[in-house]
């Protein structure tokens, strides 16, 4: 983790770690379930990302504030309960103000509770560092997660429907005479798995180039 390897803990460094060097999805392979499940279109992916940023920020703040009171054997339980509380808040908020999105995301919003990213950041960063660093770390990780989700979702949405954010970008074949034939498979589970697999392969390729 960013905080144990002896590097200087400057805020910028911590922020960048979440965005690229330790990007939760592409590098640490955390939080795969929501990554695969909500990326059929950009809008639910963005909603999911924002909910995760909110929960991650709040839980990191709370965990960081109570880090000196925690008993070692009870800490995971305390983390989980903190996270569950904030997820309930996020879920109720979405139900009230974004009912369509809440409907579309279904159980995946409450499933943020068991999203490994949040518990991992609570354990690896917030329980060891002060309030400021924890907040920066949560923000970097959350934004890194959201960006990855949006990249994946835009690839899938364009190929599956020819649209981004429900606005057409590619001329779909039909009466109006476009050339693009939508790939239905991209909207299905196989599209999620294969796109993420190829994205990870691309990241591997870039990393190896950088080293060699």
């Amino acid at each position: 983790m960013a905080n144990n390897d002896g590097k200087t803990l400057s805020p910028g460094n911590v922020l960048l770690a979440g965005l690229w060097r330790e990007n939760p999805v592409l590098r640490l392979l955390l939080g795969m379930c929501p990554t695969l499940a909500v990326t059929a279109a950009v809008k639910p992916a963005l909603t999911m990302g924002c909910s995760v940023i909110f929960v991650l920020l709040c839980s990191n703040i709370v965990v960081s504030l109570m880090r000196n009171l925690l008993k070692p054997h009870l800490r995971i339980l305390m983390f989980t309960l903190t996270i569950a509380t904030f997820v309930t808040i996020a879920d109720l908020f979405l139900k009230a103000f974004q009912p369509d999105m809440s409907e579309a995301l279904g159980p995946y919003i409450p499933l943020i509770i068991v999203n490994c990213i949040i518990i991992c950041r609570a354990e690896a960063c917030a329980s060891k560092n002060g309030l400021f660093i924890s907040m920066i770390d949560a923000f970097g990780m959350g934004v890194g997660f959201t960006l990855t989700l949006c990249v994946l979702a835009s690839i899938r949405e364009v190929l599956a429907t020819g649209m981004i954010f429900e606005r057409p970008v590619l001329p779909v074949a039909g009466d109006s005479g476009g050339w693009f034939v939508p790939w239905a498979a991209m909207g299905m589970p196989i599209g999620a798995f294969v796109t993420l697999g190829l994205l990870l392969a691309g990241v591997n390729l870039i990393t190896r180039r950088g080293k060699g």
Binding site: L29, L30, M32, C33, L36, A37, I76, L77, T80, L81, A84, T85, V87, T88, D91, L92, G106, P107, P110, L111, I113, V114, N115, C116, I119, A185, M188, P189, I190, G191, A192, F193, V194, L196, G197, L198, L200, A201, G202, N204, L205, R208
Partner: protein, 196 residues
């Protein structure tokens, strides 16, 4: 006879047609992480089956008998995760006492069952689908466990063979596993619509 048929259909649907791993993307982390060896995968599947059955029954009872009567639905998620954490603790204590060798071989993966999305996911789906009978909830939970075990064992078998294959360098590890998983979901899509 009617009930038996309903229960049988529910079981088949959750194991094959609505398999949590292949159609709902739940439990992907252990599916990609643990499934390197067949025996480990099977052990993991059994532990998850036990926990998910226990958790499914208990959360259904708590949700329908306690929270619904007291109008405390807001507390649902906190209660669910507490029940699951408790059930995992129980399995851990039982295994450490009676099967110490199995306990050793699981290592870190046992406490991680708490954060397995398949378990919380199933409890949420039972709530979402509005399952009204305890028997049906039990069958669904058990079936979900069996479905997870089946998925993780198929994957482990493929990955044991994959180690001998000549995979391009940048695809090694997680990427090729994800693509394999994608092809598996395509195969299981053939069952979609079999049960309405």
């Amino acid at each position: 006879m009617e009930t038996v048929q309903v229960l049988l259909l529910a079981f088949v649907s959750i194991v094959i047609v609505n398999n949590l791993v292949f159609t709902k993307f739940l439990g992907i982390c252990p599916y990609l992480g643990v499934s390197g060896r067949l025996d480990m995968a099977f052990g993991m599947g059994c532990a998850v089956t036990f926990v998910v059955t226990l958790a499914g029954i208990m959360t259904w009872m708590i949700n329908n008998w306690v929270l619904a009567t007291l109008h405390l639905e807001v507390m649902k998620y906190v209660c669910f995760i507490l029940v699951i954490a408790g059930a995992v603790q129980l399995v851990e204590m039982y295994l450490r006492k009676f099967f110490p060798t199995l306990y050793e071989s699981f290592g870190i993966f046992l406490p991680l069952i708490t954060t397995n999305c398949a378990i919380l996911g199933l409890c949420l789906f039972i709530d979402l689908w509005g399952i009204k009978s305890l028997l049906e909830a039990t069958v669904l939970s058990f079936g979900a466990g069996i479905g997870f075990t089946m998925a993780i064992c198929i994957m482990a078998g493929i990955r044991e063979n994959l180690q001998l294959a000549d995979v391009p360098d940048c695809l090694r590890g997680a990427p090729i596993t994800l693509i394999t998983a994608g092809l598996l979901t395509l195969a299981f899509m053939g069952f979609a619509g079999m049960i309405g």
